[in-house]
Symmetry: C2
């Protein structure tokens, strides 16, 4: 079962990568860019076939390894 995890910086946390992208887009002539935030996207293939258990496992993975919960939020989507 495939699990998709989005890890994003919490609102208010400075995002220098996002700022760099925004600056580069301005430099390339893309107008009207009001903001850019960069996060991580992780796809995990789990042997688990029960969606509820897969979600639980993925959330434990986020809390223990994937996300820094002091400054980052995570979202888990369980797919096929």
């Amino acid at each position: 079962m495939k699990v998709r995890v989005h890890i994003t910086l919490k609102t208010g946390v400075l995002d220098p990568q996002g700022k760099a992208i925004q600056h580069a887009l301005d430099g390339l002539g893309f107008a009207g860019v009001d903001g850019v935030r960069q996060g991580k996207y992780i796809e995990i293939d789990l042997a688990e076939t029960d969606p509820a258990k897969a979600r639980e496992t993925a959330e434990a993975m986020c809390a223990r390894l994937l996300a820094n919960t002091v400054i980052e939020d995570y979202r888990v989507d369980v797919g096929s």
Copy 2:
């Protein structure tokens, strides 16, 4: 208008970051992890209010700056 961009490595391209995460998860005792792929997730706030134009702009941004189209695929989702 908010645009969400997912940038992932093409199938077949080696993903050392994903392998490192998989190894770390194994080390923490998470069993049944068959594979991990890491990508990027970028949220862009555009002044543009027309969804079709916002998508077109975001795809141009991906092709010109955000993604390395030799080894990466991108997906654009236009939201509110």
